[in-house]
């Protein structure tokens, strides 16, 4: 039986393909109730780049949140030891506010090939279909777009409109296309977000015991329903490059995509 809270290779591959990981109801109910008292008042800002231990003192709500075993294990697997806090924010979708956020990626275009930030999104309430749960587009994180330039896209096949139990946490690659949906309910919806910057190379940070599991390549070769036929193949190509960076294995491939187009045997003289 596995006792580690680190992610497995298959889970990491799933994150690399989807661009996010969902942990349902990992925060206990008493903490959810505490959060619903705290979040309306806001969480004081911290300077960008503050180590977690300095940003969130022992015993504080955010510190206890990121130290929950499932959350801590996943964060350690993705951004490594001692990440810094980029920023945090309390997001609110007001009841019957009448509009949704445009589909966007946070911050600015960020095309780092061998590093990524992780955004934690915590939902202290049960999110029902009409509460405007976050829209997330699986497999969008490697697209090179800038912030809300994707705002023209209202719906994409296979998008996920978050419906979840209280205490759910999402961990997202910084590039994922997402947006707060229109809240058509009578309930104010809260979400607490923390963006983490890695402070160590993101290489083999997870439990690698299952690295040879065929499910790793299956996850990395996954297509999503919104992918165009041709561009979907490039998504696999780009995932292979990211997986090579995360594993330090320059020979890894899925269906020979990268190996084929980088094969350039040295020319030999026939003189």
């Amino acid at each position: 039986m596995r006792t580690s809270t680190l992610l497995t290779s298959v889970q990491l591959a799933r994150f690399v393909a989807h661009g996010y990981l969902r942990l349902d109801a990992v925060v206990p109910e008493e903490m959810n109730q505490e959060a619903l008292g705290l979040l309306p008042k806001g969480i004081p800002d911290v300077p960008c780049g503050t180590p977690v231990a300095d940003a969130y003192p022992d015993g504080s709500f955010p510190r206890r949140l990121v130290e929950l075993p499932a959350v801590a294990g996943a964060l350690r697997s993705l951004v490594g030891p001692d990440p810094t806090v980029d920023h945090h924010a309390v997001h609110v979708r007001e009841p019957h506010e009448g509009h949704a956020q445009p589909l966007h990626g946070d911050a600015i275009i960020d095309v780092r090939p061998d590093a990524f930030d992780v955004q934690l999104m915590y939902y202290p309430q049960r999110v029902t279909p009409d509460m405007g749960g976050t829209l997330v587009v699986p497999g969008s994180h490697l697209r090179r777009t800038n912030e809300s330039d994707t705002g023209r896209y209202q719906n994409l096949r296979g998008q996920t409109r978050l419906v979840c139990p209280a205490g759910t946490v999402l961990l997202l690659h910084h590039g994922i296309w997402h947006g707060g949906r229109r809240n058509d309910s009578d309930v104010r919806r809260y979400m607490f977000k923390i963006r983490f910057n890695p402070a160590a190379p993101q290489v083999r940070l997870w439990d690698t015991a299952d690295m040879a599991d065929p499910a790793v390549a299956e996850e990395l070769g996954r297509y999503f329903p919104w992918y165009e036929q041709a561009t979907g193949r490039l998504e696999i190509y780009n995932r292979v490059l990211l997986w090579r960076a995360l594993t330090g294995d320059p020979s890894f491939d899925v269906d020979h995509w990268v190996t084929r187009v980088t094969n350039r045997p040295a020319h030999r003289s026939h003189a």
Partner: protein, 88 residues
Amino acid sequence: MTLRQQVLVLYLATSALDSPVVGWSRYDGTGTTRPTTGDSDEPPYSDGVAALRDGWRLIQASPLLPPQAGAEYGTSFLKHEFFFEKLS
């Protein structure tokens, strides 16, 4: 009577108008509906030609552009975007 424009944007799986819809957006100049981000999981039509059959007029299609040298493997915006209108 003033005619007002309804706009439908379909994103298709290939550059062919009869290929499957992978994404969709609507904008309603009549004010009778208020489409927005993430408001539906199923597209209004299965492919672009199905929209034509239902009376939508195609007004713009994405040009086919070769990839920029050095960026052949990069992915960005959806490539196969088709704008339709109805006047009512």
